[in-house]
């Protein structure tokens, strides 16, 4: 294997800026090692002999190079309690602010979109049952939506392998899952009955509007794959799908700053999230 020179400071900066402009993803110095690795992987795969020539390929998105590059960072394999700092933010900061302004008889509504094979919405359910003090005082409605009907079927089945459960303690697994054939685990019937799975395309206002409005939306690692106009449309649909004062959480490398100015940024101890303003005109 030929030795590829390390990515220089300036090259790293230009690459990050380009990816940020195109996808909204943010790569900090902390991620530098992984970004360099990925650049070298892709340079080898595309037989690029210099950073400049690889970067030219990336810029022109030849053969979908941007998605190829970005895929390494948004591992399609999901698992329970992924990005748990956002779950912690949910039960520590977001929900208490929501219930402070909600009528008592309204359900707390949470949307996981895209939900893929269900790890995320089920994680939200388990986390809330385990960590939210008010969990018995409120009706909670959790919906998982995706454009892909096959993953939704799998989500309804609720069957998971060991890898999906790797972040869960044995106690939690015992409490919320039952063993299933093939060295797998099935999430308990109660929970499968509690989460509603629907098909939805975030680009279609009619489809998103049909789900009503939510207190919190988890929309992770999806918008980075959209082009500019599609991201704007999705952001407007997601805005519409939030109650005034409701929150939206993106993936940890994503930022609303490249997507849309509709939301206000909120910084909490565990996460940065975005809020639909409560109301009242602003300049």
């Amino acid at each position: 294997m030929a030795e590829l020179p390390p990515v220089t400071e300036e090259e790293f900066g230009r690459l990050c800026e380009f990816l940020y402009r195109r996808t909204g993803m943010i790569f900090t110095e902390a991620k530098r090692y992984y970004v360099e690795r990925r650049v070298h992987d892709r340079m080898e795969a595309t037989r690029a002999t210099s950073f400049a020539s690889y970067f030219a390929r990336l810029r022109s998105d030849l053969d979908g190079e941007i998605e190829q590059f970005v895929n390494a960072f948004t591992v399609n394999e999901t698992y329970f309690f992924r990005e748990d700092h956002q779950l912690r933010c949910l039960t520590t900061d977001l929900l208490k602010r929501r219930i402070a302004v909600k009528p008592r008889n309204e359900a707390v509504r949470i949307w996981s979109m895209p939900c893929s094979t269900g790890e995320e919405p089920y994680s939200i359910a388990v986390w809330m049952l385990e960590n939210w003090a008010e969990v018995d005082a409120w009706d909670i409605e959790i919906i998982g939506s995706d454009i892909d009907t096959r993953v939704l079927e799998a989500a309804r089945e609720g069957l998971y392998g060991q890898r999906a459960l790797m972040r869960l303690t044995p106690d939690l697994i015992e409490k919320y899952f039952e063993p299933a054939p093939g060295d797998r685990w099935r999430i308990l019937q109660d929970l499968r009955d509690s989460v509603r799975f629907t098909t939805a395309n975030v680009m279609e206002a009619a489809e998103t509007a049909a789900h009503g409005r939510f207190d919190v939306i988890f929309c992770r690692n999806m918008l980075i794959y959209f082009d500019d106009t599609s991201r704007r449309v999705a952001a407007e649909n997601l805005f519409e799908s939030l109650l005034p004062g409701g929150y939206i959480c993106l993936g940890h490398t994503e930022s609303m700053s490249r997507i849309s100015p509709l939301f206000e940024v909120c910084r909490y101890a565990d996460a940065i999230v975005y809020q639909r303003p409560l109301g009242g005109a602003r300049g």
Binding site: S257, R258, P261, G283
Partner: protein, 143 residues
């Protein structure tokens, strides 16, 4: 809401009293950011960057800078809208000194910047020595 007019000084700037000052440069032109960064780091300041007003808001909530250098024309959120949003924030960060940079040199542009909450206004292009002089004036020396 604390407005610059409530503090004494050049358009109401109070010199920060912490050591090792940090400057957040907000401009969507990468060469402009690079040019300012070179000058600021040579002068001993720490530098952070943002490409537009939205990114700047996010960054300053994570780590409040001692001074903002903010361009006007940027994607997603322009410099004036950013400043107004900054001055509405809760806590000390709302009073962060902010310098507007702009290609415009008319009186109404200075006034617009001042109403938006700017503490100073520099007309581009800004040579490095000029930048450092005014940065030092607005937030003190690097250390």
């Amino acid at each position: 809401m604390r407005t610059p007019s409530s503090i004494n000084g050049l358009w109401g700037v109070r010199v920060a009293d912490t050591a090792s000052r940090r400057i957040l440069v907000v401009d969507d032109a990468s060469l402009v950011r690079m040019y300012y960064r070179n000058a600021l780091e040579r002068a001993g300041y720490e530098v952070d960057e943002a490409l537009n007003g939205l990114e700047a808001l996010e960054k300053l909530l994570v780590r409040a800078p001692d001074l903002l250098i903010v361009d006007v024309n940027m994607p997603k959120m322009d410099g004036f809208t950013f400043l107004r949003a900054l001055r509405r924030q809760e806590g000390d960060v709302a009073a962060t000194p902010a310098m507007i940079t702009s290609t415009e040199a008319k009186t109404e542009d200075f006034e617009a910047a001042q109403s938006a909450g700017a503490n100073f206004y520099l007309v581009k292009p800004i040579p490095q020595e000029t930048l450092i002089d005014y940065v030092a004036m607005l937030c003190g020396p690097a250390r």
